[in-house]
């Protein structure tokens, strides 16, 4: 068989072409799909952001308006409110996930016994796999003012009942709680992998020298873990900045606009008011922020694209 294909290879122009351009040909379907589904719509959206398109004038004709959408967006208090909500949401939830994730990673790292350990990891990873919409629905049930188990437990403990989803501040924290519950395992997983690949020698040396636990943590664990920590933080920052499903289902951006993060805001402009041009300008702003964060992630953290 190999001899046969080898022979035909020398005589067949077509198979020689395949042989020469093999890697590019393999990549071609990917390039075509990404151009059609991602790049082309993105370009279309950028063009749209410079027009006054709405659903009403879309077929009858709309016109180029230059930077007017961007100026309009950037001077609206609503936009800056949603910008603030998005930043606060990603910042706070990422910080909490880092703290809890690190704690859990340390905890599990100290468990002896492979079987016990894998059971614990399976339990801790459960939230991560779940559908975000389902997570939001589960927390909606538990945080309900009337029938929610959280309010019941709090009242049993004498802490009183709270309108979790009905109060502006509490609604924001409800979102944080549901996101931290689901995404802490992600940070945990990366940090655990980091802990497992730590070099052993410096830690043994520190023990011999009689270093305290705090010293070991401060001067050995933290510096050695800076790589995994940065990876976890950048990925969480970017992904929590993109959040939409959980907010839309749990609070719908409310009460008022208290939890209307950038994505939810854009969704409202685009699909409730159908101000397409303006929404496209917000989309470009979101895009720029994400690209910048990704660039930062590649620069700062040691996410390597080659192993």
């Amino acid at each position: 068989m190999p001899a046969h294909s080898n022979k035909s290879l020398q005589h067949n122009w077509f198979s020689r072409f395949i042989e020469k351009r093999f890697l590019f040909l393999l990549l071609l379907p990917t390039i075509i799909i990404l151009l059609a589904v991602v790049v082309y719509p993105l370009g279309y959206s950028i063009w749209l952001s410079f027009t006054n398109a709405t659903l009403l004038n879309f077929l009858t004709g709309f016109s180029f308006v230059g930077l007017r959408n961007y100026l309009h967006t950037l001077t609206r208090a609503e936009f800056w409110n949603s910008f603030r909500v998005a930043i606060l949401f990603s910042g706070i939830s990422t910080a909490l996930e880092l703290v809890f994730g690190f704690f859990l990673a340390q905890l599990v790292y100290n468990i002896k016994g492979a079987k016990k350990r894998s059971i614990v990891i399976a339990c801790l990873l459960t939230p991560l796999m779940l559908t975000p919409v389902v997570v939001a629905l589960m927390w909606k049930l538990m945080l309900d003012y009337q029938i929610g188990i959280i309010n019941y437990l709090m009242s049993v403990l004498g802490l009183g009942r709270y309108p979790w989803l009905g109060d502006q501040t509490l609604a924001f924290w409800s979102l944080i709680i549901s996101d931290v519950w689901q995404q802490t395992p992600f940070v945990f997983l990366i940090l655990l992998a980091g802990l497992e690949s730590l070099p052993q020698e410096p830690f043994e040396a520190a023990r011999v020298d009689g270093a305290s636990r705090l010293q070991v943590f401060r001067f050995l664990t933290l510096p050695f873990m800076s790589g995994p920590i940065l990876v976890a933080v950048t990925f969480r920052l970017i992904d929590s900045f993109k959040i939409f499903d959980k907010i839309n289902v749990l609070t719908g951006g409310g009460p008022g606009t208290a939890t209307e993060a950038l994505n939810v805001h854009m969704h409202r402009i685009a699909f409730r008011w159908f101000r397409l041009g303006e929404a496209a300008s917000i989309a470009q702003i979101i895009l720029v922020i994400i690209v910048l964060l990704t660039w930062l992630a590649l620069r700062v953290s040691r996410i390597s694209t080659d192993s």
Binding site: P2, S5, N6, S15, I18, E19, L23, L26, L27, P29, T30, I33, A36, V37, V38, L42, Y44, L48, L125, T126, P127, L128, M129, L130, T131, P132, V133, V135, L137, M138, K140, L141, M142, Q146, I147, Y152, V156, W181, L189, I190, A193, S197, V231, F235, F241, K242, F244, D245, V249, N263, M266, A270, I286, L287, I290, V291, T294, I303, T305, S307
Partner: protein, 275 residues
Amino acid sequence: MSRRNAKIVSTAVLALLVVGACLVSLFPVIWTFLTSIKSNVDAFAMPPKWIFQPTLSNYMNVFEKQPFGKYFFDSIVVAVVSTVVIMVVGSLGAYSVTRYQARGVEMGKYVLLFRMLPPMAIVLPVFILFRTYGMLDTYPGLIMVYTGFNLPFGIWMLMGFFQNLPMELEEAALVDGCSRYRAFWKVILPLASPGIAATSILVLIQCWNEYLFALILTARNVRTLPIGASMFVQEHQILWGELTAAAILIMLPIFVAGLFVQRYLVRGLTVGALK
């Protein structure tokens, strides 16, 4: 002695913390499950009932009063077809990218950039384009978007597996007179198959969980499970019984799939090799 006691105490504290953490992780799921098998009267009882007569009526309602079977069907069709296309195209693409990388052509970061793109940035133009070309609320439309948007994720994950295969393998095959095509098909793909299997399950879960595109791009004809479930939250009331039953039904396949891919999760979800 006191040193031994201290050790026992610290072990106990550790165990307690671990059990507590597991409980916090699992409780919402358990609570949702309990609510789903309660009658409406029991579900709203305060204080909550821990012992009750379980019932499957919520599950029956989900399928009988709501077209949940149809949502299931739509979810499966869209997720499976998208995953198959992603895996076929993605395996080729990922192999190509890793070999380009090996030659010093830096491509991985573009894959990462595509993986990071916010869905919100393309859902609006896709909505308009689909509306223009009559592709809203169709299977091909949603499948196309899922494929394009999850392809970079699949490629990124597969890259990790292809990188672990030594180049010498295929070079040996080439020296033996194999064409590159045969070397890829007969040598590389079989070796990468565990990684391909793990990746396909993670991609499947991603498509299964997707919400935004389904919300905007589909309506009556095609309705996936996350949209169907969120519809139990209605203007004036929330159908808690049906809602929790739906939530459990959506989770079940993920639990089964999750058991298989757990050990690949670090690579799949961190989307980056840790150095």
